[in-house]
């Protein structure tokens, strides 16, 4: 069962400067949602907050009693040392963590699943290649194979197609559509508006605050985009220097 992810008044702040500011709303089960917005709009921060990787200053994220550790998450440009001495298969196998844990044996089924996932992203034959031998595109395919093996009902992707060529992007996006058809929830941070309009039915437009959330065509209207830009500019211009005004909120400054 795919859980809904309900945000209630979520605030994430760095050094009192809010990256995500009083955002509320719900990612309904089985939706394919893009999170769009200018740089510094809090897209990645919101994603990390959902995963429980970043503490919230205030607010609540309700995931219908499903722990975020059962979500699959692909961070933006993962900070992985690509010279680390593991193979593609070993990397992908970590996707079975919820079944193997730290101590349980890796079952033959899991190993076969991992091979199937590797074939699924077009890397068959590379199972035993060290990850240092992969190109950027192949490396992203391997990370997607790990996502597939995680078999999560909720999948969060942070700029998954940055620096990938068209063919790799298309093939990986086809996988995303497949997850959507399975009834999984997919949330992706993206900056390419044309790409979002083409592939994502739902969009959350973020500029620290929630600008719009709903069907993509309406959420990405010219008026909304102009609002998002203006809000980001205001924070960029005044936010860093603004004397903090205290409300009943603690832990972050308001503009």
């Amino acid at each position: 069962m795919t859980p809904a992810i309900a945000l209630t008044d979520v605030v994430v702040a760095y050094r009192r400067l809010p990256a995500v500011h009083h955002v509320s709303g719900t990612f309904e089960p089985g939706t394919l949602t893009a999170i769009a917005g200018p740089n510094g709009a809090g897209k990645s921060s919101l994603m990390k907050a959902i995963m429980g990787l970043l503490p919230m200053s205030s607010g609540r994220i309700d995931t219908a009693h499903v722990s975020p550790r059962h979500f699959a998450y692909l961070p933006q440009a993962p900070e992985i040392d690509r010279s680390f001495p593991v193979s593609v298969l070993q990397t992908v196998m970590f996707g079975a963590w919820q079944r193997t844990g730290a101590f349980r044996a890796v079952s033959k089924v899991d190993r076969e699943c991992a091979r199937a996932c590797i074939a699924n992203v077009g890397l068959d034959g590379y199972e035993h290649a060290p990850i240092s031998a992969l190109s950027t595109g192949q490396w992203h395919r391997a990370l997607f194979a790990r996502l597939i093996l995680q078999d999560a009902r909720v999948i969060l992707l942070d700029e998954p197609f940055a620096s990938l060529d068209e063919r790799t992007t298309d093939e990986l996006m086809a996988l995303v559509h497949g997850w959507h058809r399975d009834g999984r929830s997919v949330i992706a941070v993206l900056h390419d508006l044309a790409f979002i309009r083409k592939h994502f039915p739902q969009t959350l437009l973020l500029a620290r605050e929630r600008v719009a959330w709903g069907a993509t065509a309406e959420a990405l209207s010219d008026a909304n985009l102009a609002t998002a830009k203006a809000m980001t500019d205001r924070w960029a211009r005044d936010g860093e220097r603004a004397p903090p005004r205290h409300h009943d909120h603690t832990g972050h400054a308001h503009a």
Binding site: R69, D81, F84, P85, V86, S87, W97, F103, A133
Partner: protein, 297 residues
């Protein structure tokens, strides 16, 4: 044949101090070799040196409380080392500072504290000299300590292996799937301190850090597989131990530096000849393919 025997085996058969040294070195190789590999992969190659300074206040307090007792000083050293490693780890987790930076900060503070305690006590005994023993004078207690720690290290490393690899390889993923919390890494840091203190005690600092890091650094030149690297590092450590002891016996030079220099020779040979990124392999690279059909995976 008999000449070879007298060259390689007789020293260990005839002299018990050589046998003890051999057992101590082999035990250290088995425990510290794999630990060194993880330190290299974690980009903490200089941690051994930092820990060797960080343990001083603990050793000094152990000495003040119970005099020249191996166990008291080792226990003090382990506690001081663990506190520094723990504080450094927690600081970098809480603040996002790089771990080597936190470690440098805390080990310098610890070293200063140690020097202060030693000088305030006005002891005429050179604690560092006592702490950093000599390989050819390993006593029963020292041997027991080193072998016990090696046994514990191998068992614990095998237990936490998967978590530790994931924690070093992809810490964000580890946290996301709930494998984080860093307990595996905490146990690992404990093992680093334990191994170093046990080895300082019996063999000396240089030996301890040298036999931990040099084989691991050398092994990195030979493989792209973490299991193979750990195996290779252990073999390198064992070979360095045996050859170093033999050289020191026959040429009559200090054994500790001889063992470390043997490990250094293997390291330099690996830089030159290593199959993964050795210099000769780079020079002799075979011509590149001109047609996709030539490539066989």
């Amino acid at each position: 044949m008999s000449e070879l025997y007298s060259l390689l085996v007789t020293p260990f058969v005839e002299f018990s101090f050589m046998r003890r040294a051999l057992v101590a070195c082999l035990a250290l190789s088995l425990g510290a070799g794999p630990i060194g590999v993880f330190l290299v992969l974690r980009r903490m190659s200089l941690m051994g040196d930092a820990v060797s300074h960080a343990v001083l206040p603990g050793v000094a307090i152990g000495f003040l409380l119970s005099g020249l007792s191996v166990w008291a000083m080792s226990l003090g050293g382990v506690i001081a080392g663990l506190i520094v490693a723990l504080l450094a780890g927690m600081t970098s987790r809480a603040t996002g500072m790089k771990e080597d930076a936190s470690l440098a900060g805390f080990y310098l503070a610890s070293l200063a504290l140690g020097v202060l305690i030693v000088s305030a006590a006005g002891s005429s005994v050179d604690l560092l000299h006592i702490l950093f023993g000599s390989i050819l004078a390993v006593d029963d207690e020292g041997l027991l300590l080193v072998v016990g720690v090696a046994t514990l290290s191998m068992l614990l490393l095998a237990t936490i292996f998967r978590s530790l690899v994931l924690e070093c390889f992809d810490p964000v993923f580890a946290r996301a799937v709930g494998a984080g919390g860093g307990w595996a890494y905490g146990i690992f840091m404990g093992l680093v301190v334990l191994n170093l203190v046990a080895a300082f005690q019996a063999l000396g600092t240089l030996m301890a850090v040298g036999l931990m890091m040099l084989p691991a650094l050398a092994a990195r030149f030979w493989s792209e597989d973490i299991g193979t690297i750990i195996g290779t590092a252990t073999v390198f450590a064992v070979v360095s131990s045996i050859s170093g002891l033999l050289v020191s016996f026959h040429v009559e030079i200090a054994s500790g530096p001889a063992i470390v220099l043997c490990a250094a020779v293997i390291y330099i040979a690996s830089i030159l000849l290593g199959t993964r990124s050795g210099l000769v392999a780079r020079l002799l690279r075979r011509p590149h393919y001109h047609d996709p059909g030539e490539v066989r995976r």
